[in-house]
Point group: C2
Chain length 479, copies 2
Amino acid sequence: MKENNTVKNQSITRQEDDFAKWYTDVCLKAELMDYSDVKGFIIYRPYGYAIWENIKAYLDHRFKKSGHENIYMPMVIPSSLFNKEKEHVEGFAPETLICTIGGKNKIEDPLIIRPTSEVLFCQHYQKIISSYRDLPKKYNQWCSVARWEKTTRPFLRGAEFLWQEGHTMHETEQEARHETLSMLEIYDELGKDLLAIPFSKGRKTDKEKFAGALETYSIEALMPDGKALQCGTTHYFGQGFAKAFNISYQSKEGKLETPYQTSWGVSTRLIGGIIMVHGDDNGLVLPPFVAPIQVVIVPIAQQKPNVLPEARKLFELLEKENIRVKIDESDKTPGFKFAEWEMKGVPIRLEIGPRDIENHRCVLAKRNDGRKIVVDQDNLVEEVKSLLNTIHKEMYEKAYKFLLDHTTEVHSFDELKEVVDKGGYAKMMWCGDQECEDKIKEITNATARCIPFNQQGFDDTCPICGKKAKKVVLFAKAY
Amino acid sequence: MKENNTVKNQSITRQEDDFAKWYTDVCLKAELMDYSDVKGFIIYRPYGYAIWENIKAYLDHRFKKSGHENIYMPMVIPSSLFNKEKEHVEGFAPETLICTIGGKNKIEDPLIIRPTSEVLFCQHYQKIISSYRDLPKKYNQWCSVARWEKTTRPFLRGAEFLWQEGHTMHETEQEARHETLSMLEIYDELGKDLLAIPFSKGRKTDKEKFAGALETYSIEALMPDGKALQCGTTHYFGQGFAKAFNISYQSKEGKLETPYQTSWGVSTRLIGGIIMVHGDDNGLVLPPFVAPIQVVIVPIAQQKPNVLPEARKLFELLEKENIRVKIDESDKTPGFKFAEWEMKGVPIRLEIGPRDIENHRCVLAKRNDGRKIVVDQDNLVEEVKSLLNTIHKEMYEKAYKFLLDHTTEVHSFDELKEVVDKGGYAKMMWCGDQECEDKIKEITNATARCIPFNQQGFDDTCPICGKKAKKVVLFAKAY
């Protein structure tokens, strides 16, 4: 006999026992993903993929509203083309997946499965940009990319993952810089509006920036184990790629000019962030606006004649209001169903049984804190809508409090070590030399996560080298 | 100097001079796609990709409404897994694209870029199906696939193309057969509702069916050159794959049973169908409900003070009603703009100039037949909405008339040859033997496109062999 995979009431590892094990337990038991035969290539199961669809819908709308157009580039890049921008190649070459056989024949110029598509966009832009009238070009692509990583973990680091990559070209440096920052802002708002995750925003140090970029910006989230998770990046390229690819345009004044470039992306790694930031020992806890199911109706004593009809009435009521609702009519016990939907992190469980029906009420149970509210059925729609907002707010605030509680100003190497070892951000004033960054990395394994936009200083000297401090930096261990 | 790619008023090849050249001219000049460096891998440019997004939105909604869930499978299949279903392998092996190097190391079990994902779904289903409670499983995936084809043409045949692939598992043969036909019905309705293409529906002969399927059904469209284009297929697999992959479930009665399987897909090939069925010597002609831009506003004498403000007012009026509208304020001449938007096939061009403003009216020009209508601005929204419906209907009917006019009952091999050589469907009564099919293919290069559902017979014997005729079949040359 095969195992019955629908049974979900096995306990999962507790967070405090083994956070990494808890994480993969949740990924599997909440049916977000499954492993395939090839390391690092995961199956995005319907429940996990639906989370990605909700993120995608939000961002796609924001991108289009801000004048971006979707495009689809080939999934392969000829090696010869890939090698055109030096720094870029060096950054990605070690982890490329390469096709050498097509239709049983050897491919002369082996094809690299795109790890990112800068070079493809550049080549296309070279063909289609010739006048200032062709600018700006603001393209985005939803696709999957491949990076042959040694260590892989579901959603967090994959040999293949789903993402969007924006690639834009502009007439002026100012416009391109503005694009770089305004896309970071959209990512930040994704956190506020949908994921209930407060991001730390800022610029990457030169050591940590993207291969080929002049500047990289990122949104970083702090996980419960005190490690940071880079959740999205935007890059300002200046004219580097454009020059390497001979992209030029005739300006209004008739001069030949080189445009300025950006790229930016977020990936299914965000799902990993959601799992870790909000999850608990009962499984997933989904923020309401990204949850595939916002309300699950669990009928109590459903064998009694009027329970299912009444439950279905409430289902229809909520569905009509575009609330993502599901009714669980399976023949499992209520307790079993409770555990199952808790594991899946559904924000609100609606219980309705004979006594509730008698009193024309029902019970709403909040996944994020377990509290229950008894509501009159006449107010159900408003109560649910308001509760979804409340839950979102509570989840965001909890995560924000955790972030504040785990961000510590440090004034010495010892303090820094203590903070990053315990877990959390060490906020330090830094001289700006990579040597100090290298030393921190070597001794503590922490890295500069970002140079936050808020640069309110507090020390005069860099605690690592004693030289003049120039920048506030957030250091942490990271995924 | 580089060529100015924004100029679009070059004439394109006329259809009657060279239909194939006309087709690729339109693909490029309407900015639907561009070539990449790798043969058969095209760039889906924003205007082409937006058509695909509209098709996707329609189908995704229909799929979800009929209980299907989206999922994402790995883009690679290990060779060892790919070889598990014999017929299937034989069908696809000659055109596989294979990765042999990952992170600079040789991959022991080379990875095939998915040409289709039956084996991945089967392997997953083997893991997650164990009880009748787990059935049906109705999954769909939106992705790109790779097939190393020798002859490639934009949208029609690519080394990479975008598609959706549905894969479902059912308790009973009846349910699986119903799924196979009801998905075909959704594809047919896509033609009626969105693409303005009348499809011929039916079953494929055994010779033409999908590798590994028991039965294949297809929707076929007739192109202006008289060749058929297979636009989508649905497959009934019976239990073949399920047995090869050891998929079984425990029935309500406690017995171990094997489920029944289907798969179905349409691809970006549909865009090729739209181009050919509706296009003319001025370029693309888009059916209104799949068109990325439904109305383009071209201001006349836009330098005059009140023209642009008035044009923008109409733009806002239409946009508020969710009509996909664009205003062309560029400094090109109206004539130039007309040609450009005609090339791009926008269904309605709205012209507004000083005299129109004086009379509180504007002009609507229909792309499909060039007719112009003068409308009062007060009725603009209703007029546009009604005109979009009219244009859709006219385009569908024109294509339907073409289909009827080019479907001919044939009673002899000579008649068949004449019909398929001239172009169009030869409707023939067939004995059912593959020998006759082979002979037709060998001599005329026509193939059995489908065995239509309407089986009203008209001959007693097969004109090829003289044996008893069993089935009505549509023969045609095909893409």
